[in-house]
Each structure stands twice: as structure tokens, then as C-alpha cells.
């Protein structure tokens, strides 16, 4: 399944890029993050993050669909 992932803030720094297209077996954002965390040694746990799918907040166990854009959201610090 083809998934588009965008990286921001500390994840962008740790991944070394701001976005990529993946071909993945991960059925949910949770599984996708687990796989990426293993590949890239991300320091944040999924419990530190929120997740967005297609430009809105989503649940970690929602089913991913072909062509979805996924963004993992590190702890925010605006203001």
C-alpha cells in the first residue's frame, strides 16, 4: 500500500527529510510509526505523539488507505 509521510520538527531532523512515499504493509498509523521508528531510530514514543491523516487529527488505530498522507505530530510548542 502506498502511503505519503510528511515529517516536521524533531522527526524531520531525525529522518533527514521532510517527506517520502512509502510502500508499506502497515495497516494503521501505530504500525507505520513502529516500523519507521525502528528504521530511523526516532527518539519519541508513539505516546509522545499525535497523528494526522489527510490533514486532520486521526486515531492511532484507524485503518490506513492507499494514498493516505500521514503526519506524526511531536509535542507542540507554539505561542
Amino acid at each position: 500500500m502506498k502511503i505519503h509521510v510528511e515529517y516536521y520538527a524533531i522527526l524531520k531532523e531525525q529522518r533527514g527529510c521532510s517527506q517520502e512515499n512509502l510502500d508499506t504493509d502497515a495497516a494503521t498509523p501505530r504500525a507505520l510509526y513502529a516500523s519507521l521508528k525502528g528504521d530511523h531510530a526516532f527518539t519519541l514514543e508513539d505516546s509522545d505523539l499525535k497523528v494526522a491523516v489527510n490533514e486532520d487529527f486521526a486515531s492511532w488505530d484507524d485503518a490506513l488507505e492507499e494514498g493516505d498522507t500521514v503526519v506524526f505530530i511531536p509535542p507542540v510548542a507554539g505561542g
Binding site: T43, I73, P75, V76, A77, G78
Partner: protein, 147 residues
């Protein structure tokens, strides 16, 4: 209608923003500015950068403004957040609320600032005098890079 919340890379201009909130029925105007400080948690800050996941930040920010309008008797409210490299003294965030009475203006302004800080996907990276950097609110990194 224009969105009541947006992300900008340009300097924030409070006077122009305030004008958009003026109405003849409003007697009270409360505003908040977040300024870039020269220190944070005891460390000297000499560089700072905000970044945002812009589409979702603007969507969530607009939701917060709508919530404020539902909760408080407000005339108009706007918030702008700046991203990119900022300098000490720059305005990072501006919130303005006009209302018939002062209570609602204060409470709505505070609510908007608090919710934006808690919910909107914006990140801050600080650079310190020792050359190290931190992503604020994220566990410290072992390997730190210059800003």
C-alpha cells in the same frame, strides 16, 4: 469570510490586525503577544525558529477561535502565529479579542492562547550560547545540531 487564524513568515503587525476587530458595539479589547525571550529555563537563548504543519495548524487554530466565540460573548477574535527564524523581541504570536464587555474579552483571549499552545501543530527550536539546540517540549536529543 477570511480565516480568523493563520500562520505567517512575515513580521506580525498588531496595529493593522487590531483594526480588523473594531466595531462600534465593542467596548473592550484584550490582546496577547508572545515575544521571543533571551532565556528559557535558565539558559541563554540566542537563536530561535518556529515551524508548523501549516494546513492542520490553520484548521485547528480556526476551530479554537470558533470555540472561543461559542463559549464567550465575543464580538470578533483573531490570532496569527509567525514561523521561521525569529530574533529576541520579535512577536511570535498575536491574539486579539473585541467584546462588548471586558470579562469576555479577557477570558476569550486567554482561552485562545492556552488552547493554541496546547493543540496547534507548531514547534519551537531554541539555540543556546553553547551552540546546542533543543526542540522545546521534546525529550532531549543525544545528538544536537546547531540551529
Amino acid at each position: 469570510m477570511e480565516s480568523p487564524f493563520w500562520i505567517t513568515e512575515s513580521p506580525i503587525e498588531p496595529t493593522a490586525l487590531k483594526k480588523t476587530l473594531q466595531g462600534a458595539a465593542s467596548g473592550a479589547f484584550a490582546s496577547f503577544e508572545g515575544w521571543v525571550r533571551n532565556h528559557n529555563e535558565g539558559k541563554q537563548v540566542n537563536a530561535l525558529e518556529y515551524s508548523a504543519y501549516k494546513p492542520l495548524a490553520e484548521k485547528e487554530g480556526a476551530r479554537i477561535i470558533e470555540e472561543a466565540k461559542e463559549k464567550f460573548a465575543v464580538e470578533a477574535a483573531t490570532c496569527v502565529h509567525r514561523v521561521g527564524p525569529l530574533e529576541i523581541g520579535d512577536i511570535a504570536i498575536w491574539v486579539g479579542v473585541s467584546a462588548p464587555h471586558r470579562s469576555a474579552s479577557f477570558e476569550a483571549c486567554r482561552f485562545i492562547v492556552d488552547e493554541i499552545k496546547a493543540r496547534v501543530p507548531i514547534w519551537k527550536r531554541e539555540g543556546y550560547q553553547d551552540g546546542l539546540t533543543d526542540w522545546i517540549n521534546c525529550p532531549s536529543q543525544e545528538l544536537r545540531k546547531p540551529l
